[in-house]
């Protein structure tokens, strides 16, 4: 039995009943990769042979009654900044084109221990920043809803692959919105967990203070299943907090009675960049949260530009520090967009960086306060649906404040769920921000919204 599109939850249930085999799931994904990834470019490396062998091993184990858990036999893929022992990990850059790690990232290892099957490595903007670029060793990923359009970034391949059914789930990373942006533009669910929830050991850094690793999948429920497998403390990452990891998927279900949704309209309502269809879809999404039982109230926060200022100064200064040596000696091996963005950090002084971190603390406390009064905050993930890929400015993140930046600055968990489609058939995203280490409630809200709306019933026509 094979079906073109599976959610992780559906596939897991079918595997448990032996209605489908891991081999079927892997062949379905590989068949679709073969059929459509020539125009989507979501993968930079497909591990077809390894995946088939792993699927066979998983099938044998499951038939013997040795199923490891709900993710055993589920095909996934990793953004190509997650290290994979013995498998090339490039960061989508010429700088590390021949880099073959000796060990796995902690997330890679945890997924393997959960029994997932690695299909391959996914496209990213160069080192998780700076795209879409056309001067790198691999082409940029394209949007499955219209391959002429942008995927968002930097987890571009992760968004495209999940939306197109080329993997059932994927890992992304999010420093200024790199999970939630592509999740929104590609019409999938993606969660940036709390800072410290998921280990970043073996994930190539962009900004130590702002980097988060998190899952992307078709539904919030699928994200819940993936997050449980990878969350928790890690001796290899001192920022990975020793906070209990609940069974996120088991906590899903029900309505939103007793919850409060805060809407920071000053982030977006009067911004001329807000696309009218996005505005309508997000407002309808917020109203739906009210119909599900939540109390909806407006909340006033500091201007979005304040959050973005703290984000961009910290991000660029730290990215410059990470890449300083290679920028000096291998300048031309970076893509132009990455060079231009990161070199601008040379104008950031030590005092600027310190002031940005002090502002960060003030803003994080502000969001803590808002989230004492409200269970979640809701606002758009991005200002507009996916633009034509050729028209995306290389310096977009420097030019305009991003709606995703606040949760990177504050470290709160945040996710994007699909809240409809534009007239042109492009997905639109609703962003939800939750309390620290309370991903369970955030996922519950996202899942309730998805179940109450028809958006998960549509897939890209490829």
């Amino acid at each position: 039995m094979s079906t073109p599109y599976w959610t992780i939850a559906e596939a897991s249930a079918a595997l448990g009943k032996r209605e489908v085999s891991p081999v079927d799931l892997v062949e379905t994904c590989l068949g679709r990769i073969e059929a459509v990834d020539g125009k989507l470019h979501s993968y930079v490396l497909v591990l077809a042979g390894e995946a088939r062998a792993a699927a066979k091993r998983a099938e044998t184990a499951i038939l013997r009654g040795e199923r490891k858990g709900p993710l055993h036999g589920i095909p996934i893929a990793l953004k190509d900044i997650f290290e994979t022992a013995g498998i090339r990990t490039t960061g989508h850059s010429r700088i590390r084109l021949d880099h073959v790690p000796e060990s796995d990232a902690t997330v890679t290892r945890k997924f393997a221990e959960a029994g997932t099957i690695l299909l391959g490595k996914l496209a990213t903007h160069e080192f998780a920043m700076g795209g879409p670029s056309f001067d790198l060793p691999f082409p940029p990923a394209r949007n499955p809803w219209n391959p002429a359009n942008f995927t968002g970034g930097s987890s571009s391949g992760s968004g495209a692959a999940v939306a197109a059914g080329l993997a059932l789930g994927a890992m992304g990373s999010d420093t200024g919105g790199s999970i939630r942006g592509p999740a929104s533009l590609c019409g999938v669910a993606g969660i940036k967990p709390s800072y410290g929830r998921v280990s970043r050991a073996g994930v190539f850094p962009l900004s130590f203070a702002l980097d988060h690793a998190g899952p992307m999948a078709w539904t919030a429920r699928d994200c819940a299943m993936l997050l449980r497998a990878i969350a928790g403390p890690d001796p290899r990452d001192s920022t990975a907090a020793d906070v209990p990891v609940p069974d996120y998927a088991a906590a899903l279900g029900g309505d939103l009675q007793g919850m409060s949704v805060g809407v920071p309209r000053n982030f977006f309502a009067d911004d001329p960049a807000l696309d009218p269809e996005t505005r309508a879809a997000v407002e309808a999404g917020i109203a739906e949260l009210g119909r599900l039982g939540a109390r909806v109230e407006e909340v006033k926060l500091s201007p979005l530009d304040d959050y973005h200022a703290a984000c961009i100064v910290i991000l660029l200064a730290e990215a410059f520090a990470v890449h300083e040596a290679d920028l000096r000696t291998r300048w031309r091996d970076y893509g132009a967009i990455f060079r231009h963005r990161v070199m601008s950090a040379a104008t950031i002084s030590g005092a600027d960086y310190v002031q940005a971190t002090r502002l960060r603390r003030k803003l994080a406390l502000e969001l803590d306060g808002a989230l004492k009064r409200h269970t979640v905050l809701a606002f758009p993930s991005v200002f507009a649906p996916a633009a034509p890929i050729e028209s995306v400015p290389g310096l977009a993140f420097l030019e305009k404040a991003a709606l995703t930046a606040p949760a990177n600055v504050s470290g709160h968990p945040a996710m994007s769920v699909c809240c409809g489609y534009s007239k042109a058939g492009l997905p639109l995203g609703l962003q939800l921000v939750g309390r620290r280490f309370d991903e369970a409630t955030l996922l519950k809200v996202g899942d309730a919204y998805e179940r109450a709306t028809p958006w998960r019933g549509r897939r890209p026509a490829l």
Binding site: A346, I348, S349
Partner: protein, 67 residues
């Protein structure tokens, strides 16, 4: 207080670029200067007057400003 010596202004940044990367094309130089201008705008938005008491590493009684 004199401005600290740093590539804060486009002219200084252009001079730094010319010294570090003498083979830059005009287009690339222009792109870098454009990026630099954006970053300056964000840096200028950072508050410089947050109270000492808000600094988590602050362990002394805060002096009055201007003394």
């Amino acid at each position: 207080m004199p401005e600290p010596l740093s590539p804060r202004h486009p002219e200084e940044f252009a001079a730094l670029l010319a010294r570090a990367f003498p083979d830059l094309t005009e287009a690339e130089r222009a792109a870098l200067l454009r990026a630099c201008g954006h970053v300056r705008r964000w840096v200028e938005r950072l508050p410089r007057d947050l109270p000492y008491e808000d600094e988590p590493a602050h362990v002394f009684a805060a002096p009055e400003r201007g003394r």
